[in-house]
């Protein structure tokens, strides 16, 4: 597993601490690696540009999606988990963190994490 992410940080205890007993929901993610970098997609239904936070601290990237649920109606049946999304990833040191790009469309966050120029594979000409 060489993801964005060599190790993913998963610290349920810490997460609980930060948000009382409420907890967060883990968004499901896909991570693809290309020669230029990584592309991370996270499913966050109900989250838009305004309710999304992407935090970078040292080498750790955290995505947070705040959500609102129907408030003016009575709930009869529920399958969704009415919580905010949150998940953290440890970044591959090759990523140029200044160039990370985030976009959210139809409840899916797409993060583009380019690798720094010097670590991209380069073709060396043999004379």
């Amino acid at each position: 597993m060489n993801a964005v992410t060599q190790n993913e940080t998963q610290r349920p205890a810490a997460r609980e601490e930060q948000n009382g007993s409420r907890g967060y929901l883990y968004p499901q993610v896909n991570i693809a690696e290309t020669k230029d970098g990584y592309i991370l997609e996270a499913e966050m239904p109900g989250v838009n540009k305004e309710s999304l936070e992407v935090l970078l601290e040292d080498n750790e990237l955290t995505i947070v999606g705040h959500r609102k649920f129907e408030a003016n109606a009575e709930l009869l049946y529920r399958e969704s988990v009415p919580r905010d999304f949150r998940r953290s990833f440890v970044l591959d040191p090759a990523i140029d963190t200044a160039k990370i790009n985030a976009r959210v469309e139809n409840g899916v966050l797409t993060l583009t994490l380019p690798k720094a120029e010097q670590v991209k594979p380069r073709k060396v000409l043999v004379e």
Partner: protein, 149 residues
Amino acid sequence: MKFQRPNWPAANQITNLRDEINRLFEAPFAEWTRGSDVLNAWSPALDLYEDKDNLIVRAELPGLKKEEIDISFHDGTLVVSGERKHEKKYEGSETAREERFYGKFQRSVELPKAVNPNAVKASYKDGVLTVTLPKTDEAKPRQITVNAN
């Protein structure tokens, strides 16, 4: 002497197992089986609300286009179906992690009250589908005036 390395599961298997366990403790059981690899099918979460005039169905369908969602209503049952296609979007990419579900889905809800099938409205925003089904007059709560004599 020969040492044998214990047969550890691969690192990603551990992570996945931990994901599953986290999910098990974070969410009701139904949610866990629904979203997990165990059943390996996409079954989007569906909620049902009621207000004075409407029944409201909310479905989490991230990453679809609105044209890819089919909604039908028949005999008091609302059916939401569609397909999320697995597009190979990134040229020359390798998959490092894949948790999202792809393929067809279908969910149906039997509505607890009579609704007017001609006035059903649907909207899709931020990956959430909201279907508003106005109750028939008979199904609405009625105020009965007490006549004094």
